[in-house]
């Protein structure tokens, strides 16, 4: 039994996602159930790999008992264009922090409310959606190119294009920080 607990703490665990802040990626209005997703703790605790565009679960900075599921928009050094109600129009993410946002900007308690969050608050990374079954495996392969969708299915194409548009809009609001690679020296 301790082995199973350690497994979910350090490797993978299933979590139920509730709330509207990640629509339409997670918990869309078309779904009757709250999404259940597989979260990966190993890449955060052991490998410490944080990537822009990853959906992550993190402890809320304003309420220590709450866990939020949001997307990493910017990492340290990036200049991010913020959304209301954040007071400044642009913000540089400080060292060791990240800018996180929910996909639904009007119903999201995210960095636009409380600013950059320390990377140490991030708990796990979403790997794939497990339930409901018609969206199983969603978000596993990214990014979804409209070319890959069969041309016969109109609504799938439109949904894929909409997702691509949202991703482009998110990326357009971030100026990424280019670090000098250490191998260039000496």
């Amino acid at each position: 039994m301790p082995t199973a607990f350690v497994f979910t703490q350090y490797f993978y665990g299933l979590k139920i996602v509730s709330g509207r802040s990640m629509q339409p990626t997670l918990n869309p209005d078309s779904s009757l159930w709250r999404d259940v997703a597989l979260f990966d703790r190993f890449s955060i605790y052991a490998k410490q790999k944080y990537k822009r565009g990853d959906i992550v679960a993190l402890k809320s900075p304003t309420d220590p008992n709450r866990i939020l599921v949001k997307r990493i928009i910017g990492l340290e050094g990036d200049i991010v264009k913020t959304l209301p109600p954040y007071p400044d129009p642009e913000v540089t993410v400080p060292q060791g922090h990240a800018w996180i946002e929910g996909d639904e900007p009007f119903h999201s308690n995210d960095s636009n409310q409380f600013g950059s969050v320390p990377l140490a608050l991030i708990d796990s990374r979403l790997v794939l959606v497990v339930w409901p079954l018609n969206r199983f495996g969603h978000l596993l392969n990214k990014p979804m190119q409209p070319r890959n969708v069969e041309s016969g299915n109109r609504s799938d194409y439109r949904l894929a294009m909409a997702e691509l548009e949202r991703e482009r809009w998110r990326n357009s609001r971030v100026v990424t920080f280019h670090r000098k690679i250490d191998t260039e020296r000496s």
Binding site: P61, P64, H97
Partner: protein, 183 residues
């Protein structure tokens, strides 16, 4: 020795014995892994000894060579027991892989003077600590990177409370909260 080898070779001839031997090894291995996991869970959630390093908590903690006991369970069971003056270990807000040890100065809602000496901020600058955050400070203010540099930190970063120092033996003490409220 040769008798042991002969016995082992005889045992190998019987297929059931090999299966039984493997099953026993498998179960023992699983029990060993289980024990490691249980010990690990204890050290993560209840308490554990750990070494301290760095000059930012002088004179409370020395620069190197000390071992203290961290108490991880008090803040989990009773989060409201966090009080001003507690020695806590927390994950660093500027580097997620570092663990730092500082003292809690302010709780959410408090108004804190950032730096009375005026070194890192004008001595009249005050900050209201937002909800869910605390203000931390090293005891050796001259040589400590703390909330005067990076502002209030979220309470969720706290890992443990320091309970006592156990090494060196002549300096072993239980850490008590030294706060005095001055009216």
């Amino acid at each position: 020795m040769s008798r042991w080898i002969a016995n082992a070779l005889n045992a190998l001839k019987d297929p059931n014995a090999v299966k039984f031997g493997l099953k026993r090894t498998g179960i023992r291995g699983f029990k060993l892994i289980n024990m490691f996991c249980a010990i690990h869970l204890f050290t993560e959630y209840v308490g554990r000894p750990s070494t301290m390093a760095g000059p930012s908590m002088l004179p409370t903690l020395a620069t190197y060579g000390e071992i203290v006991i961290e108490d991880r369970i008090t803040y989990r069971l009773n989060p409201s027991s966090l009080s001003r003056g507690d020695l806590v270990t927390l994950k660093s807000p500027v580097n997620p892989s570092h663990i730092i040890c500082k003292r809690v100065i302010g709780l959410p809602g408090d108004i804190v003077c950032v730096d009375p000496t005026g070194n890192k901020a004008p001595s009249s600058e005050h900050v209201v600590i937002p909800k869910g955050h605390i203000w931390i400070s090293g005891d050796n203010a001259a040589n400590s990177r703390d909330s005067r540099d990076y502002g209030p930190v979220p309470i969720s970063l706290i890992q443990a409370r320091l309970y006592a120092r156990v090494w060196p033996l002549k300096d072993s003490t239980i850490f008590r909260n030294p706060t005095r409220i001055v009216e």
